[in-house]
Amino acid sequence: MVERRPALNFLAYAILSLGVVLVALPVYVTFVASTQTFEQIVAVPMSLVPGTELIANYATALTSGSEQASSAPVARMMLVSLIVALTVAIGKIAISLLSAFAIVYFRFPGRMFIFWMIFITLMLPVEVRILPTYEVMSNLHLLNTYAGLTIPLIASATATFLFRQFFMTIPDELAEAARMDGAGPMRFFRDVVVPLSRTNLAALFVILFIYGWNQYLWPLLITTDQSMYTVVIGIRGMIAGGDAATRWNIVMATAMLAMLPPALVVILMQRWFVKGLVETEK
């Protein structure tokens, strides 16, 4: 606040609170729904007081999924999602870190050409190249595999570009000092570049983990086997069409479960973010 006046303070808090309520309300409704019985949910109006079925609903979701719809247990789907999200995040970071390092610190013929080739792929997101990619994956017999789920998502121009920009802000003298100290390129990478990038790494990890976790279109195409469904696909599968009734309480419990890991990642990595913002070392 520029001026310290109680009325202005009150207004600020009111607006902020309103924002929090707006964002939190759907999540709250989801949570409440996930604690009620099927009958309570379909009643109109739905009660906004948490019900009694919390443990039962979550246990059902985790172990057996929604029985009548085509769906695997949510625990299995969460595991698949976790593996996919982690592989995508770590794979992307590993590849882009190394390629950015090569582009910034090595002089080789075609360096800029390669950089621009990588950069141009920014214009071609997964959705645009989805059919040819599917064709390739299918010919490689990678449908319904973790490799098929993750590899096409790993190649990343965005992260490479971000790391390149960051590396270029590291003073050249640091590389030269390392050379004087006798550190080879990979040693310099490991001992200086990676530690200096750690806050960027944390930020990117969070973003990429959520990106991987929330993938919808690609897993939908590449998986036909229920045991390879990610949780995001699974939720869609639980919402039954036709005459079968959708068990909304289980669906809501699954939705809550699906929200947990990204939220956890954000909360756990937040310390690093803040650290990264406070520390201005370079």
Binding site: P171, E173, L174, E176, A177, A178, R179, M180, D181, G182, A183, R187, D191, V192, P195, L196, E279, T280, E281, K282
Partner: protein, 360 residues
């Protein structure tokens, strides 16, 4: 420790020749300062000794070994960078120990060396800190510590004091001097600051536009500058250079602009020749009008305290030559003419074409 010899070294970046044939033999334990204006190639030359730049032609040898194709780490040297280049994520201790760790030394040996260097540089209490928790002077010391622990044959300094404030710079300068007296390691030091060069160097290499202007002890460079460039670069304010033709049987100097100066010592051999007469401002003395060698008109005066800088001109106002003199404040008049003289040993004559000193 080792001698360093730079033999007819050239460096070009594409079509641009940055270093054009520089040679110098640096003795074991000597402190040599390379000094010159920015862009003269002095840092490039240092980086070639360090192995951070390739050598286009010529040879650089450290000790007996020609190091042209050796990696920096194999040259047994240590370098201190202008912005210190400390690893920001490592503690002071790790910064100093990093090079030794890579060499694969024993932990006890590393600790002992770091401890010793820290004592020399008074860093013992700061070993656990990160560079960002240190002041500029302390960072500078850590950078020196990182060089010391390796016990190299040669120290290379690239404008190490230019990021410090004036007071700290003076302090670090004397610390550097003390350090060199203690370690006696061959040192090459690059700076654009003539005061640093004068105070630190055993010998200095004055560079301009990639070429050597003069190599010599500071006092020699000061009292017998080899070229007009050196005359103007070393000394503050720079040496006065008065163009004119020697006449009167070598006893005076005159120019078309109305400049007229008597020489304290006749140079009959130069009669009729166009020259530049050089006199340092601090070598002028005020005198009686009858003894004056030149009589500049006073333009303005800068009071420095006990001394004053008097700026004036000889000859006509527009076509004459500016002259500066450093005189004791008590003898300085406010305006009018100022009769000045200077001793024969303080007279420098240069060839206006080549800029080279004309030998007596």
């Amino acid at each position: 420790m080792a001698a360093v010899s730079i033999r007819d070294v050239y460096k070009s970046f594409g079509a641009v020749n940055v270093i054009q044939g520089i040679s110098i033999d640096i003795a074991d334990g000597e402190f040599v300062v390379m000094v010159g204006p920015s862009g003269c190639g002095k840092s490039t030359l240092l980086r070639m000794v360090a192995g951070l730049e390739t050598i286009s032609s010529g040879e650089i040898a450290i000790g007996e070994r020609v190091v042209n194709n050796l990696e920096p780490k194999d040259r047994d040297i240590a370098m201190v960078f202008q912005n210190y280049a400390l690893y920001p994520h490592m503690s002071v201790r790790d910064n100093m120990a990093y090079g030794l760790k890579i060499q694969g030394r024993e932990k006890a040996d590393i600790d002992a060396r770091v401890q010793r260097a820290a004592e020399i540089l008074e860093l013992s209490k700061l070993l656990a800190r990160r560079p960002r928790e240190l002041s500029g002077g302390q960072r500078q010391r850590v950078a020196m510590g990182r060089a010391i622990v390796r016990e190299p044959k040669v120290f290379l300094f690239d404008e190490p004091l230019s990021n410090l404030d004036a007071k700290l710079r003076v302090q670090m300068r004397s610390e550097l001097q003390a350090l060199h007296q203690r370690l006696r390691t061959t040192t090459i030091y690059v700076t654009h600051d003539q005061v640093e060069a004068m105070t630190l160097a055993h010998r200095m290499l004055v560079m301009n536009a990639g070429k050597t202007e003069q190599i010599g002890a500071p006092l020699e460079v000061y009292s017998r500058p080899a070229t007009t460039f050196v005359a103007g670069f070393i000394g503050s304010p720079p040496m006065n250079l008065i163009p004119g033709r020697i006449n009167g049987g070598g006893k005076a100097l005159a120019s078309d602009g109305g400049v007229s100066v008597r020489l304290p010592e006749a140079r009959p051999g130069l009669d009729g020749r166009q020259v530049l007469l050089g006199v340092r401002p601090e070598h002028f003395e005020a005198c009686a009008a009858g003894d004056a060698l030149l009589n500049p008109d006073i333009d303005f005066i800068e009071l420095l305290g006990s001394d004053s800088l008097v700026y004036g001109h000889v000859g006509a106002d527009k076509t004459g030559t500016r002259v500066a003199a450093r005189l004791h404040t008590s003898v300085v008049a406010k305006e009018g003419r100022l009769p000045l003289r200077f001793a024969a040993q303080h007279m420098h004559l240069f060839d206006p074409e080549s800029g080279k000193r004309i030998a007596a």
